[in-house]
Structure formats: structure tokens, C-alpha cells
Symmetry: C2
Subunit: 340 residues, 2 copies
DNA sequence: GACTGGCACTCACAAAGTGGGAGTGCCAGT
DNA sequence: ACTGGCACTCCCACTTTGTGAGTGCCAGTC
């Protein structure tokens, strides 16, 4: 059964009204608020069809209709009109991010900004090392057998690790190691470095070999494989808005899920370049988040994606608005990283 | 009016029962569960006195009694018996913290551990730089006019900042700067360094003076004054336990307060050495936390305090248990930092 | 004087009953 | 294909009622 133009219009109206009022919407109210040019009775027939197709449902026999997850999905895919940000919002974004002093600060501000603008829970993944490129490596001798390795990424992120060497090392050798490593790795994306690191070991003369071997292990293990992914979170208080109607009464499972970084990384970290992904209710693999929806997108300088960000809220959320906001913020932060 | 021995005993019983059951406790149930050797009627008289004194109250006429904030306070100060940790708990602490690989990891694990053991919201302040001492300073030349300053604290925390120099600098001069800074500052507590930094500038010869001046500004501003304090949080889901009875229905204000790092720092950062501080309900200065209690303590290697940690929960919480747990964990983490 | 048993009283809470109203489905008419 | 009308459903808010836990007080006992 093909849904004709007007039925889709009805669905859109239902979603919009329900999102706004949080109450089941009936045929009469619908024709009043939107100027569908038909009578309530006609709308009722349309609703019956929409219900049959699974896009809306009645909470109980004699109540208005509420969108199902499938209904929201159709709405998001086909029906929602883009909601451009208000100038005030644009200004808010600029003002909020412009004073950031370092990477931590950028992420922090971003996540708070998102939470504030969307009135949902916001999540921002720290720029992932593995997809960023290397600006500089530094070796700091702490003692004759101990080095600190510091890596500065293009995004401004800094990582450091201690390394215990197999034997004492001369200052000149440290200098040489530093030179070689930088020569080989600077400018490369971290994810591309493993073969290069391997090569570094092979190209080393006998005197540098042992320390370089140890170093390579550390580089591979801690900087590439154990790409420690961090996440920033804000706006959890927004979950408690809207009474307890959303999330069927208990915030517990949601809060629990939000504490699992692994889960968040899965949700917000798996983003394709420049795609905004919307997961609605049931579509979520995580059991605890079946009553929530997620809007996520990637961000990074230019077309490179170095991390994900997005918001999480009740399935009954303002999808067009949130999508627009998340995109705009992501884009702005991406540009910021490009300059930094 | 002095409260005699038995009245205090009654108060203790009320607190313990109420914490356990979350229901107003009546005179009859009280004599049954605790072996007070008197009749319900007597207990009722005692209760009347306790109520007059403001230690307990009735939610409504003809209900049992519930402790007031003042009641909890008296209980904590005078009546609670220390609850030693179970061997299982001790083992849990060790097992949980023993695998930590770096400082971030320690803090992370600690906060989760606390949340798990107490079933409350846990907060851990990252070891504060200002109270920790310096292990090493490193200057990394990024270009002829740009340095990266890296500071490694005794606690393992690492901080870095970029510095733009007034003019080009020679490699040898960088080495000399590094030597001087380390000579002067290593081993000192960061909070004690400002005069030393000042001295460094004054002792510099003409060639080193300009870069040293810039460096000193950065050291003072970013490493000492702007002691960026960080906080880790876990267990927010525990707020949603216990229905909505705690926190008078709305988690919103609590969640909001928990997002304000400034507030958390105030609550958990202001700790006197080796004192465990308990704030109960009303005693809280923060309006939004009037329905919550906080158990906080300082931690650090030996008798030095480098940060605070603790838990936050409903006023109706297991004070003796939480106090014991927080203390034990703080102590364990302190020892860990001492070795690190 | 301290404690106890007894008794009348209070009042939240749960269960059951009631009416109103929003909303529906369907059908006959245009 | 759409509309007006009508009977029907059933949630929800409201009131009523009964029950029981808990209290305060008082007179009596050790």
C-alpha cells in the first residue's frame, strides 16, 4: 500500500505535534493546528492506514496516536524539513568555542555547548590519535636507562609514556634516535605508522638497535594499538526533564549505559565521514538504550574524521533541530582543529 | 534537656532501621527488631522527646518517625560504630587498583571502585598539581622560537604548554635553561615555586634573560595559578536506585550540580589533611544538594594531601559504611601514589 | 519516678465506584 | 473521495470508603 501525499503529511503533523506536546494527538486537534484541508473524519481514516502500516499506534483504545520508532524513522528520512540554525544559535556557537585555550578545553566547551543547544545529553569523543597525524616526537631522558616518549598530534593532543631501556644510553644516541623517529614519522597518520616503525628498527645500526627495539614496542603498543579513546559527556540533567514520561520511568539503565565508555565509543565513534547518523529507539543494539535516540556525526579538520560527537535523548526528540545543531557544531569544531 | 543513654539508643535504632528499610519506623517495630528492654509505649515517650529536640520527625500524623538532618548529624558524630571493611571488600580494593597503568587509570579505577563499593555517586579529584612536587621539567624545542614545556609531577601527572619566545634561541641555551630550571625546582612543591621562579629570572645572564622571562610567565600562569583541576565521576546511575523516594522526586538539580566541576571541587577539594568530612543535607551550601549527603576525604602519599575524593548520596545513606570505605580507598590510593 | 497496658484518635493509603470527555470506527449521504 | 453524525470505548480524575499502623495520653503498677 503506497502512502499518498496527504497521509505522509498527516504523519509529519503527528510527529511534530507529539514532539512538541508530549501528548497523544487526536484527529480533531490535528486539523485545527495544521491546515490540512480535510475533516477530522478523513484524517481518522488516514490514521487507521498509518497505524496498519506500523508508523503510529494508540497507547490505548480511545486515545490519540503516537508515532512508533518506524514512524520517526520515516519522518527523519523523508519528511523532516531542514531547520536552519537561528543567528542567535550561530553566534552562541562561535562565542562559546572561540575562547578555548587547548584541546581539552575545546572538547569540554563543545560538549557543554551541544548539551545546552539541544537540551539533550551530549557526547564528544576526543580526537582519536589513530586517525590524526603526528606533529612531533620527543624523547626525554629521565635517567641513563629511562626515557619519556612524548608525542604531539596535529590536533594538539599530547601523549606520553615512560620507557625502560635494556641498558644505559648516551645523550648523543638519544639525539640520534629522536632525529630518526621524527624524520620517519612526522606528518604521517598514526594509523599508518606500524610498518614505518618496523622499518626504523631494521634500519638501525647495532648500537641503536636495542633501545630502538624497545621504543618501537612502546610506540606500537601504547600509541597505536591501545589507542586510548576518551569521551566527554554533558547534560545528563536533561534526562530528568520531561517528568518521567520519557524512558518509561527509569533513568537507571540510561545512566548506566552512559557510564560505559565502551558503549559510547561504539555509538559515537563509529561514524562515517561527514555522515550524520540517526539511531532511533529499537534500532539501537544496546538493550538499555531502546527507549532512546541518538544523533551522531563525525568531525575533524577538512574531510578527515578524527572523532565523533552527538546527542542522546528520548525517541520523542526534535530530530531536525538536533541534526542541524550537531552538524553545525561538528563543522565548527572541525574548522577549529584545522587551524589549531 | 539531656538525652539519656536509652534515648540515644532509640535514635540510633531509628537511623539504622530507616536507612535499611527506607520506611518510617514505628515504636512497635523498633522494640521488636532491636532488643531495647522496654515497651513500645516507653519508646513512644522517648520519641516524643527526640522529636521535640529536632532529631526526628513524622512525615505525617500517625506515621512512624524519620531522622532529620540533625538526627543524622548526631548519629554520625556520636552514635555510629565503626564498620570495618569485610575482607572481601579489602580484596576488591586491591584487585581493582593493582592493575592500573598510569595516573589517569588510577583515578578512573578509583572512582569506579568507590561507586561500586558504596553504591553511591563517587567523585575523585585528580591529584592537584599545586600540592604535588616536581619530578622533572623538560624543554622541547619545536622550532627556533617555540618551545614546549613539559612538567612531570611526583604523582605521575604530566602537563605541557607551548611557549613562543621573543627571538630565536640556540640549542645550547635551551640546554642551559633546562639545567637551571631543574636544578632550582625539582623536588619542590609546585605551590612553593613562585619565588624560586622569580629568582631564576634574576639570576639569568643577559643572553638568557628574555627567554627565561617568558618562560617564567608561563610557568607561573599556567602551571601554578591556573592549576587546572580535574574531576572524575562515576555511579550516577546509583542516584536512580531507590525509586524516586530519595531526593524528593527529581534528580534534575542533583545531576545539574554534578556537572558543575566548580561545585564538585568545592565539595571534594576542600579537605583538611587526613580528615573525613561529612556534610549532611541542609549543611550543604549548595542549594541543589540540600537533599543529599557527602562523605569526603583527602588523599595523597604519606601525610601530604594532593586531592580529595568521596561519595555523594541521599541523606538516608549508610554513613558508617561509606565513611569506612572512602577512608580505606583513599588510604590505599595514597600509598599507591607514594610508590609510583 | 519510671515504666507499662489500654484505649481513643488520626490519617495515609489502597480499593472500589462514578462521571465526563476525548477519541475512535463506521456508515450513509453528498 | 470526502464528510457529518452517532454509538461506543475506555482512560483518567475524582470521590468514597475501610483498614491498619502508629500515635498521645492516662491510669495503674513496680
Amino acid at each position: 500500500m503506497a502512502l499518498d501525499e496527504r497521509k505522509l503529511e498527516v504523519l509529519r503533523a503527528i510527529v511534530e505535534d507529539y514532539v512538541a506536546t508530549q501528548e497523544p494527538v487526536g484527529s480533531k486537534a490535528l486539523v485545527e493546528r495544521h491546515n490540512l484541508r480535510v475533516s477530522p473524519a478523513t484524517v481518522r481514516n488516514d490514521m487507521a492506514v498509518l497505524e496498519e502500516e506500523g508508523y503510529i499506534r494508540q497507547p490505548h483504545t480511545s486515545a490519540g496516536r503516537v508515532p512508533t520508532d518506524a514512524g520517526y524513522r520515516l519522518f527523519v528520512d523523508k519528511l523532516s524539513r531542514v531547520k536552519p540554525l537561528s543567528p542567535a544559535e550561530r553566534r552562541a556557537i562561535e562565542r562559546f568555542l572561540i575562547g578555548a585555550v587547548d584541546l581539552d578545553d575545546v572538547v569540554h566547551r563543545t560538549v557543554r555547548l551541544l548539551a545546552q543547544l539541544t537540551r539533550q545529553v551530549a557526547v564528544v569523543q576526543y580526537p582519536s590519535l589513530s586517525r590524526a597525524s603526528v606533529r612531533h616526537f620527543e624523547l626525554v631522558p629521565l635517567s641513563t636507562t629511562r626515557l619519556m616518549v612524548v608525542m604531539i598530534a596535529e590536533t594538539g593532543r599530547v601523549e606520553q609514556r615512560m620507557v625502560d631501556l635494556p641498558g644505559p644510553i648516551l645523550a648523543d644516541d638519544v639525539t640520534e634516535l629522536r632525529r630518526r623517529i621524527n624524520e620517519k614519522l612526522v606528518g604521517k597518520r598514526l594509523v599508518d605508522t606500524p610498518p614505518l616503525v618496523q622499518a626504523l628498527v631494521e634500519e638501525s645500526g647495532p648500537s641503536l638497535r636495542p633501545p630502538m627495539t624497545v621504543l618501537s614496542t612502546v610506540l606500537l603498543e601504547t600509541l597505536v594499538e591501545r589507542t586510548e579513546e576518551r569521551i566527554a559527556l554533558a547534560g545528563t540533567a536533561n534526562l530528568a526533564r520531561g517528568g518521567l514520561l520519557d524512558f518509561q520511568g527509569s533513568l537507571r539503565p540510561i545512566l548506566e549505559a552512559l557510564e560505559e565508555e565502551v558503549i559510547l565509543l561504539k555509538l559515537f565513534g563509529e561514524v562515517e565521514p561527514s555522515m550524520t547518523r540517526v539511531r532511533i529507539g529499537d534500532e539501537n543494539e544496546i538493550e538499555d538504550l531502546r527507549s532512546a535516540s541518538i544523533v551522531a556525526t563525525g568531525y575533524g579538520p577538512g574531510s578527515i574524521v578524527v572523532g565523533g560527537m552527538g546527542v542522546l535523548g528520548p525517541t520523542r526528540m526534535d530530530y531536525p533541530g538536533n541534526i542541524a545543531t550537531v552538524r553545525a557544531v561538528a563543522r565548527y569544531v572541525g574548522d577549529l582543529l584545522g587551524q589549531g
